[in-house]
């Protein structure tokens, strides 16, 4: 049997679906669109059934993609029975969808979720009466407490086997307004004492307060940020150490069996380092999504759109876009993944375009080195200015792309704010697991290819495998491309090579400069002086240095970030476009910075 789960957003549909399927979840996309399709299996009383989690919708007409997909899937005979999940505490609105589902001519069972909360409030719901009024089976349950699950499954299988199509002829002629009137009368006959939940209102009085609400929001964001990056980076240290040991062990093992040096290099420096680099982001990503899942499942995330509506609205973005943009200051990869919290694809794509300009922590070593070498006492000011330039560039790009995707016109804010509840551990864990698995498989495959390409560029030359970066294809390209960087004051092949190498990860710019200029211990005081002296020999002064910092700030954040953009946008075109734009913006602004710098210095 195929059982489809339909229902309003926030009705607990996914919790119920997870309760049945566990981790047997298969997440794919609906053909041709980016709406997620979740499928799972469940063995009940010795029989295997396929469960499909349809996108949450308020109706079945065909305005949004979610509604169209749900309707098409059900009408094409995709399911034997529909389990319509309804939030018992908001019954009237939920039943509007129920009636539309009943009109499809497929057996429908109504699952009244959150009955525990209704009971706690002292409300009484006459389930039999409701079932009689609607003419379909109604099962009360609590998905969070896993109560009533077997009863629901029995009712659904029974309805599917007997092919009990609901009688819905009476609704045919009714307009929306009349339908709501009918539903209201039906609910009034079954439900007594439906008081709104006072708890959520009391919490909202504080969390949505014009002043305190904003303050608490920033405090929560600070905690999320610290948790993701401070704690995450702590967990990174042993992970990186373990990976380093693995690389050297593999390297030694390969040497021991007399593998060709180039192959050893490809495996250790190319593939293992590239794919291992993906793994080092894992602690950050797990912690970030743990925090986001907590905010999402508790009901707070929806409020963020309201709280930040004013500030982000002026950029033509949803209030929630603030979260990925803030996280961008930590690391671009999880920040781009956080763009999933946004409602519209248009917003998600724009956030992916803008977030990489937020100066992530991997860029700091470059600022420290270059600013330290050229700006002396003013180094901190020069480094700080990078954060400001990044932020301003992001705002500028956001404003410029405001009218992008004209077809998907931005609708004014209209979003349900669910009741607050204690997040269910199961939901949170599944949510985190899903993201981590996605990240490893999707970003992992792209990064695998990218690291091989980068390795070839840096380790192969026209004459084959090279031991010095100076003879590599990258150096070759660098020599050819250096003139392109001349307007930015960066027309040196070594700089071009360091920038190409920096695509692997921004901090690599530092180590590449060290290698190319033959400086040992580049981060020490002597190393910094030596770097300045070597660069000065080429006429590279403070204005050039500042332009270099601007370029590093703005160009492609790293291969992993590009891989993440690719896996989140599911579009190579968009990814390539983003990369070209980043290089373009970096080129223009570093040229501007260089020209202005030349006037002063």
């Amino acid at each position: 049997m195929t059982i489809a789960f339909a229902g309003n957003p926030n009705c607990g549909k996914t919790t119920l679906f997870n309760a049945y399927t566990g981790a047997s979840l298969k997440v794919a996309n609906w053909p041709g669109v980016t709406v997620e399709k979740k499928e799972g299996t469940c063995t009940y009383k010795g029989e295997r059934h396929t469960l499909v989690d349809l996108p949450g919708t308020y109706s079945l007409s065909s305005y949004t993609m979610e509604e169209k997909l749900t309707r098409q899937f059900l009408l094409s005979g995709g399911a034997d029975v529909i389990i319509d999940v309804a939030d018992a505490s908001c019954l009237t609105r939920n039943l509007y969808l129920t009636i539309q589902l009943m009109e499809l001519g497929i057996p429908v069972v109504l699952a009244l979720n959150m009955m525990d909360i209704l009971k706690k409030r002292g409300a009484k719901l006459d389930v039999h009466r409701l079932s009689q009024k609607l003419g379909i089976p109604v099962v009360p349950l609590s998905a969070r407490r896993r109560e009533g699950l077997d009863v629901l499954m029995d009712a659904a299988l029974e309805a599917a086997k007997s092919k009990a199509v609901p009688a819905a002829a009476q609704f045919e002629q009714m307009e929306a307004q009349e339908r709501f009137a009918w539903i209201e009368a039906a609910v009034a006959a079954c439900l007594t004492d439906n008081r709104p939940r006072a708890f959520t209102d009391r919490v909202d009085n504080v969390l949505l307060h014009p002043f305190w609400g904003l303050l608490i929001f920033f405090a929560i964001m600070a905690v999320v940020f610290l948790l993701t990056f401070t704690l995450g980076d702590l967990a990174k240290i042993p992970l990186e150490a373990a990976l380093d040991q693995l690389y050297s062990a593999v390297g030694q093992g390969l040497d021991a069996i007399h593998t060709a040096p180039w192959l050893t290099s490809l495996i250790t420096d190319g593939i293992l380092a590239g794919v291992g680099g993906i793994l080092t982001f894992l602690p950050n990503i797990v912690l970030l999504f743990f925090a986001l899942a907590f905010l999402e499942d508790s009901g707070y995330m929806a409020r963020v759109a309201y709280i930040m509506d004013g500030i982000m609205g002026s950029l033509g973005m949803s209030g929630r876009a603030f979260i990925p943009m803030l996280l961008g200051f930590g690391c671009t990869v999880p920040a781009i993944m956080a763009s999933r919290a946004l409602e519209s694809r248009r917003d998600r794509l724009r956030v992916m375009l803008v977030t990489p300009f937020m100066s992530c922590s991997a860029r700091l070593p470059v600022y420290i080195l270059i600013a330290g070498a050229f700006f002396g006492n003013y180094a901190p000011v020069a480094a700080f200015s990078m954060y400001v330039i990044g932020l301003l560039t992001a705002i500028l790009i956001a404003r410029c792309t405001k009218s992008l995707h004209k077809k998907e016109k931005q609708l004014p804010l209209l979003m349900e704010l669910p009741d607050y509840k204690a997040p269910a551990l199961r939901t949170v864990v599944l949510y985190v697991w899903e993201k981590v698995r996605d990240y490893l498989t999707r970003a992992g495959t792209t990064i695998f290819l990218a690291s091989i390409v980068l390795w070839v560029l840096l380790n192969f030359g026209p004459g084959g495998f090279v031991t010095s970066m100076e003879d590599s294809f990258a150096a070759w390209i660098g020599r050819g491309a250096a003139f392109l960087l001349t307007p930015c004051g960066l027309g040196m092949w070594q700089i071009a090579v360091a920038l190409i190498a920096g695509i692997a990860a921004k901090e690599v710019v530092v180590s590449s400069l060290a290698v190319l200029f033959g400086i040992e211990n580049i981060s020490s005081a002597a190393g910094t002086t030596a770097l300045r002296a070597s660069l000065a020999a080429y006429g590279f002064g403070a204005a050039n240095a500042y332009a270099l910092m601007v370029f590093v700030l703005l160009y492609i954040p790293c291969a992993a970030a590009l891989a993440t953009i690719r896996s989140e946008s599911k579009s190579w075109l968009w990814t390539a476009g983003a990369a070209v734009m980043q290089i373009g913006v970096a080129w223009i602004l570093s040229a501007v910075a260089y020209r202005i710098g030349c006037l002063f210095i």
């Binding site: 305005y63 908001c90 009237t92 509007y96 509506d309 004013g310 004014p412 804010l413 209209l414």
Partner: protein, 90 residues
């Protein structure tokens, strides 16, 4: 004329107003919704239709508000609130 308008409080109560004019804590009985088709439709499927009531829970200076309708809460932009008219319910 001005005096008449301010003193006649009963008349004030049944005066047509938009949801945007409502303060936090006030309730509007909707008589008409005139908005862009897509938005009007989205309100309709939530049960925010003429004849129903919405209660303003919170309101920001920009006009963005949180409303309650049929037991559920929604964040609503000022633009949308401006297109919903009705009379203040007691």
């Amino acid at each position: 004329m001005i005096k008449k308008e301010t003193s006649n409080s009963k008349k004030d109560l049944i005066k047509n107003m938009t949801l945007l004019d409502c303060k936090a804590g006030e309730t509007l009985s909707i008589s008409k919704i005139r908005l862009e088709e897509a938005l009007q439709y989205r309100l309709q499927i939530l049960g925010i239709v003429p004849g129903s009531q919405v209660h303003v829970l919170h309101k920001k200076r920009s006009g963005t508000m949180v409303i309650r309708s049929r037991g559920a809460r929604y964040a609503l932009g000022a633009q949308a609130a401006g297109g919903i008219t009705g009379v203040k319910a007691l």
